[in-house]
């Protein structure tokens, strides 16, 4: 089964450093639990925050979430853990489960970026 992780704090316009810390700590616990239960994981994030388009705190949170994805995939390469980030464009609701179904099997440690808004920009 695939566990889908969403971080409500990402849409808090008043998000600050302490909020980033709290949200990352929650995500870390959720990822640890899911990996311990042998689940695949998709972490859903807004694509705009990959490059900081909605402010530094949101970008720090999404950068931290992507870091968790990459670190866990790195450690899990041998045991075969599967964890990816799915970055959705503004026009797709973060709670849309159909988008999650489009993450291909066999990937791990990737940032799957949907939409066209980041084409021509730094690969996050």
């Amino acid at each position: 089964m695939t566990v889908v992780l969403r971080t409500p704090a990402i849409d808090d316009p008043a998000l600050d450093a302490r909020g980033v810390r709290a949200a990352l700590l929650v995500a870390f616990g959720q990822v640890q639990k899911a990996i311990g239960a042998d689940e695949d994981i998709v972490v859903v994030v807004p694509a705009a925050d990959l490059l900081g388009h909605r402010g530094p705190a949101r970008a720090a949170l999404v950068g931290g979430l992507v870091g968790i994805v990459r670190a866990v995939a790195f450690e899990g390469a041998r045991p075969g853990w599967r964890i990816n980030a799915l970055a959705l464009p503004d026009e797709v609701d973060l709670s849309d489960d159909t988008a999650v179904e489009r993450v291909p099997d066999g990937l791990s440690g990737q940032v799957v970026t949907m939409g066209t808004a980041l084409i021509g920009k730094v690969a996050p």
Binding site: L25, Q32, G67, R70, V122
Partner: protein, 240 residues
């Protein structure tokens, strides 16, 4: 030209001290910040060599520590270069890592730079440069979920802050790879040799390699760079 002032966190030793020395040699007055009071001797040594350096003993994870750094910046009449370098590791495999291990690393490596940048915003002079110390490990590493999250979060913060503060202040990051340090010297010889063999530059990095990259981003030579990550890893991040 008036003297430029640089504030370097984690300046008591290691990369922070090397960065401080290179910036001092390039004419900056230094504010060296560290929770370790060895920073006092580090500043004295720079002063003995004819540089202007002042130490601030402060823990950047505490409000009082942040307040004393802001007071020192105000006292200095403003800051031209902020180097968020202080950092820690607390490694453990994912399933053995405690929430405390995770939070401690996030607190020093991500929350403290975010709060410090915010607190110093009004003391940063027009044209100032902020350099955040990330790591090649932000792209992934074994047993470092906390560290990778913190350093990748710092890259995100760098991009967001660069956009928010442009064009008044530039914000970039440096991401060092394997650097000669107490941590690398503690590795078993065969592990270290194996890692060096994967580096296209065929050597371990020196603190000065990182310090010169920071000095470039701090200087007007990089005046058209903002929101970028300079990876100083001898090519390891692109090698197979």
């Amino acid at each position: 030209m008036s003297t430029r002032t640089a504030l370097v966190t984690g300046g008591a030793r290691g990369l922070g001290l090397a960065i401080a020395r290179v910036l001092a040699e390039r004419g900056h007055a230094l504010l060296l910040v560290d929770r370790d009071d060895a920073v006092v001797a580090a500043a004295e040594e720079l002063a003995t060599d004819g540089h202007r350096a002042r130490a601030v003993v402060a823990d950047l994870t505490h409000d009082t520590g942040l307040a004393s750094v802001v007071a020192a910046a105000a006292d200095a009449g403003g800051i031209d270069v902020l180097v968020n370098n202080a950092g820690i590791t607390r490694d453990a495999r994912l399933l053995k890592m405690t929430p405390e291990d995770f939070a401690a690393v996030i607190d020093v490596n991500l929350v403290a730079p975010m709060r410090l940048a915010e607190a110093l915003a009004e003391h940063l002079r027009e044209g100032a440069s902020v350099v955040n110390m990330s790591s090649r490990a932000a792209l992934g590493n074994f047993g470092q979920t906390n560290y990778v999250a913190s350093k990748s979060g710092l890259v995100g913060f760098t991009r967001g802050l660069a956009l928010a503060w442009a064009p008044r202040v530039r914000v970039n990051a440096v991401a060092p790879g394997l650097i000669d340090s107490p941590m690398s010297r503690a590795m078993p010889e065969d592990v270290l040799v194996g890692l060096v063999n994967k580096i296209p530059a065929a050597r371990i990095g020196e603190a000065d390699d990182v310090a010169r990259a920071v000095a470039f981003l701090a200087s007007d030579d990089s005046s058209y760079l903002t929101g970028q990550v300079l990876t100083v890893c001898g090519g390891r991040s692109v090698a197979p």
